[in-house]
Amino acid sequence: MLTVDKVSKSFTTPGGTVHALQDVTLSVKTGEFVSIIGKSGSGKSTLLSILGALDTPTSGSIIVDDTEINTLSGRKQTTYRASKIGFVFQQYNLIPNLSALENVMLALEFGGYPASSRLDRATQLLHSVGIEEDQQHRRPSRLSGGQQQRVSIARALANQPAYILADEPTGNLDSVTGKKIFDLLHDLSRSQKTTIIVVTHDLDIAGKTDRTFTLQNGKITTK
């Protein structure tokens, strides 16, 4: 269970204070597949960063499985990200000089997975997202956008996280590939009961999720 309670986030800029999030309150049940939609600058990515403990709210609290993550120390937040959260980014953000396999193994290393079984686990994960063996040894630059996003999903799943936070996962893909990626995430949420929170512009994708939250000017307008 993930609960966001009256979370606000403000930034100080040369032009004045920007209120990215204002009193955002929501909750997501375990195994749920939810989407967050909204225009650019509405605060979607900021909310996702706060949920993933990449950023701290100005006020309010985020409780994940009975733990208030915004009050955790930096080291505990790192552990939380490594073990409980899987990130999927719009730009894939794979490490360019590592192969697909090594990118997945990197996440396994951070999650404390035993070194002896990392290779098998990474190979199995890449298979499960549809990356063939010859592609697994390629660097990201030699993979298509869709394949890179699949590797990114495999990396996010590496440590069997309870939550996957996906920021515009299909934003850089054509509609056909985007649909496949969405289906992959959808299947995961069903088969592994992983809670998935997707930030998207695509209303079609949002329409297929269990619930959709709409953000407007930093406030939740629709649940």
Partner: protein, 451 residues
């Protein structure tokens, strides 16, 4: 793959960029090593020259060198001042004279030759004519050098004990009419131990025959200084003093004191002083190379620092992603430090090889250039004919010193190698510390927000 493997892999991620950084760093390491080698070699030579320069001070009457020049010999009062000067541990006094045919029944064993004839041209029968024409007139014979000394060993050319081939040495403090005769002169005049000869109208007894290996010295006579002073009617006169100082550290101050107390009545020189002048150019090289080491180390640290700052800036997003997927600050910093160290180690290995190759020629070039420029500006001093034993030896030592100064061999000692490795590690540390700090400050949310 762990932090170390990733760091090493990242270091060779962009071969051209890494190659350029490594090459620049290698050049700075090569400079550091060759400068350290040059400095070490030069300092060793400086120490060696200073150690060999000894603790002797030579004091001669102002304007007099050996039997040449003019002025007044040193007096008993001045010798007392010298003996009483602080740090002077012993004093050897010498008075030299030359015996002509009217002074002795001995025949000189040295051929006069054209050089000797020219030196005596003023004493030739028609001296006015010879002066105007510069032509040499044959003199009756060459002179016999007489050295009155308080220590006969001061005549030894090897700086040690005078070699007595037969008989025994004499007491320099005696006032008897006794002498040591050079082997060549003794042979020429059929002199043996206990033979007698006439000099200054007195009968002198030969107590021993000496050899030095020096043709001039082996054709001379050594007597106690008091005897020569009496025979030549110069009571208390001394034309050369060799004073020993108790420590090489006190030579300079003792020379300064004597210059003050003898107030222009004497010319005072020391081998240490001459050596200090001679090695000043080497000391300049040592200073120059130290500056070079500091500059090259600074440049090396700057190269690694700037390279790593660029790398960190270039990979801000990647660092953010690593932190986002659970990478701790420790792991990220470790990875970048390994990356920096990898470049440092590769650069250091190439730099050391390059440094070892160029340190020899660089040291030789620095020393020979320095000595060439020094030799055109440094005055030289010779013993001159008739100069005392110490004076002649002094001139030879000076010549040897100048020759030795150019013979600096570049040697890579374990100490120098350890210093170079230490400096390299310091550079790596300095070059990695700021980038590591920058890495730790990167917040993943800020990086990912820029998407």
């Amino acid at each position: 793959m762990n932090v170390v493997t990733r760091g090493i892999k990242n270091a060779v991620r962009s071969p051209i960029k890494t190659g350029a950084i490594v090459l620049m760093f290698a050049i700075s390491i090569a400079l550091i090593l060759s400068m350290l080698v040059a400095r070490g070699s030069v300092l060793r030579k400086v120490d060696e020259v200073k150690a060999n320069a000894g603790t002797s001070i030579t004091i001669t009457p102002a304007g007099i060198v050996g039997d040449q020049g003019g002025g007044e010999a040193l007096t008993t009062a001045q010798i007392t001042i010298i003996k009483n000067t602080a740090n002077v541990s012993s004093v050897t006094s010498t008075l030299t004279d030359r015996l002509g045919t009217t002074d002795t029944n001995l025949t000189s064993s040295l051929a006069l030759g054209s050089f000797g004839a020219r030196q005596q041209r003023f004493e030739a029968p028609n001296s006015s004519a010879s002066e105007s024409t510069g032509a040499a007139h044959p003199a009756p014979t060459s002179r016999i050098n007489v050295t009155g000394t308080s220590d006969p060993n001061s005549i030894a050319t090897n700086g040690g004990v005078l070699t007595i081939s037969s008989g025994a040495t004499i007491d320099g403090n005696s006032s008897d009419n006794i002498a040591l005769v050079g082997a060549t002169l003794a042979t020429k005049n059929n002199l043996a131990v206990n033979s007698t000869f006439t000099a200054y109208g007195k009968t002198i007894t030969v107590k021993g025959i000496y050899t030095t290996g020096n043709a001039f010295q082996d054709s001379g006579i050594i007597m106690p200084i008091a005897t020569v002073q009496t025979l030549t009617a110069q009571p208390g006169a001394v034309n050369n003093v060799s004073a020993k100082v108790n420590s090489s550290d006190n030579v300079a101050s003792t020379v300064a004191t004597l210059k003050t107390t003898l107030a222009g009545k004497a010319d005072i020189t020391s081998q240490a002083e001459q050596a200090a002048t001679s090695v000043s150019s080497l000391e300049s090289i040592a200073t120059l190379t130290l500056t070079g080491v500091i500059a090259a180390a600074g440049a090396g640290a700057l190269i690694i620092l700037l390279a790593m700052i660029l790398v960190v800036r270039e990979r801000r997003r990647e660092i953010g992603v690593i932190k986002a997927i659970g990478g701790s600050n420790k792991k990220v910093i470790g990875q970048f430090i390994v990356e920096g160290l990898t470049m440092t180690v590769i650069g250091a290995v190439i730099g050391f090889a390059l440094g070892i190759a160029v340190s020899g020629p660089m040291t030789t070039s620095l020393v020979s250039n320095s000595q060439n420029s020094a030799s055109t500006t440094s005055p030289t001093r010779g013993g001159g004919p008739g100069a005392g034993g110490f004076e002649g030896g002094f001139a030879r030592a000076q010549s040897q010193l100048t020759t030795n100064l150019t013979q600096v061999s570049a040697t890579l000692t374990p100490q120098i190698l350890m210093s170079a490795i230490g400096i390299t590690l310091l550079i790596a540390l300095l070059g990695s510390a700021i980038p590591a700090w920058l890495t730790a400050r990167i917040r993943p949310a800020e990086v990912l927000r820029t998407e």
